[in-house]
Each structure stands twice: as structure tokens, then as C-alpha cells.
Symmetry: C2
Subunit: 143 residues, 2 copies
């Protein structure tokens, strides 16, 4: 089990306004907007070369991230994501060490079709941590 | 002004307990503990190769991160950090775009002696973002 850093994720009330802010003030380019209907979020990424910043906006009122916005109306850091070579193997190894994986146990996917899983924050120092499967982890990330 | 991802920072109530958790459950090695007396934090880093995870524990009761722990007793994600080639130039450019830099305006340093600055969360989508000066930004980070 080897981890690489994938992205930090910020929940925002308005992804278009967020993209404008990042462009005008920081010169950062926000990529195409995508929808993850299953997770109830509209998403976009800023690629910094060695890692990304993810922007997430709720796509429906009962979106899991809508609750986060109620507590943090202007937005804020929601989670960060680590890439692993295999979600299957990682969640199995972590399960054996009493690390809880959120959700029903059924496979979840991100907008890129990559398998993902979320670790219970109580089992990672209070931080919500996503695992993302990048099978070509080493090759992709060391470029 | 070019940004690279440096680290995500987690505030923890006990850095030794946090290091044990990361080691035993995730096989992650936490580096040497350091003290930043000025910032009032004890720190350590997990190096993931392309980016780092920073652990911070308050080193005194009036530490800025002690308040964060009052609101989040078990810990949580506090900020993330982007590296820039020049703090001086970056804060000047950002100031010209109405991005507020926290603090007195006097130079701040991290434990590695690198110049740092914090952006007001209201000016970065609700996220607390640190800028770190890595003069050899490109060369260091692309390895």
C-alpha cells in the first residue's frame, strides 16, 4: 500500500464564481465542469502539475456537500485525496487495521471512472480522506 | 506567479499519537518533530513524494491552532499550502488584486526557514491557504 497525494477538495456555493475568482486573482485555470450525479456534485479541477485542487458544488439540495455548505456558507476545505494502486487491496488492508470505510461498502466511482473510497475521519486524525485508484500510480504521478 | 502544491496541514491534539496512528494503520512515516516557537506549533511531515502532509500540535495554550482544536477536539484539516518562487512578488501581485494577506505584514518563516504568508480565507473560496517560498520551486518540485 503506497500513497501519493492526489488533490485537496474545496466545497463552494457557486463553481462559476469560484472559477472566476481563481482565474482573475490567482491566474489559475479551472478545467471543464463535470457532473457526478451519484455523489450529487458538480466538479472541476485546477491542475498544479504535482497535484490538483478540486472544486465541488452541490448539484441537488440533498447532496452530501450541501450540509457542509450550511455549516460553511462561503465554502471551505472539505477533504483531501490520496491515490493508491488498488482500492480493493487498500480497503482490505485498512479494514484489517480497524480503519472504517464510509458508505455501504459498494464500489464508488469519481467522474473519471476511477474507483474511490472515503476513510472515516475518526480513523484519520479528524480529516476526511478519499482514496482514489490510479492503477498506473507510480508512472502517472512521477511525471 | 506560478503555484505548485506543497502540503495539506492537519491540526492534531497529540502529535505523537498521530504519528503512531499513521504508522500503524497506514504505514506512513512521520519525520522528525520540530518546533516553530513563533507560530506556537510543534510540527512534523509525512512525505508522499509529490507533496506532504503536515501535522501541527499547539505548543502553547495561546497558540493560534489551539482555538481550532477547541472547535475540532479530535483534530481536522486546517489549511493547505502552495509553493511560489517569491513571497515578496506574490504578495505584491495578490495585494494589487485585493487579496488580503493575514497578519502584520512582517515576514513570517516556517521551520525550514522559508518565507511564508497566509491568504485570508474569504479571498480563497473559504479555504485557509498558505504560500511558501521555494526559490528553486521548479527544480525541487519536479523531481
Amino acid at each position: 500500500m503506497r500513497f501519493r497525494f492526489s488533490h485537496v477538495s474545496i466545497v463552494v456555493p457557486d463553481i462559476e464564481a469560484a472559477a472566476r475568482t481563481l482565474g482573475e486573482k490567482y491566474g489559475l485555470r479551472v478545467g471543464e465542469r463535470m457532473l457526478n450525479a451519484e455523489q450529487g456534485v458538480r466538479l472541476a479541477y485546477v491542475d498544479l502539475g504535482n497535484a490538483k485542487i478540486e472544486l465541488m458544488e452541490p448539484s441537488r439540495p440533498d447532496s452530501p456537500v450541501a450540509k457542509f455548505l450550511e455549516r460553511n456558507p462561503r465554502g471551505g476545505i472539505h477533504h483531501f485525496s490520496l491515490s493508491v494502486e488498488s482500492i480493493e487491496q487498500s480497503t482490505q488492508v485498512l479494514g484489517g487495521k480497524d480503519v472504517r470505510i464510509l458508505g455501504s461498502g459498494k464500489a464508488q466511482y469519481n467522474v473519471a471512472g476511477e474507483r474511490i473510497a472515503f476513510i472515516h475521519p475518526a480513523d484519520f486524525l479528524g480529516a476526511l480522506v478519499e482514496l482514489e485508484e490510479h492503477p498506473a500510480n507510480e508512472a502517472m504521478r512521477s511525471q
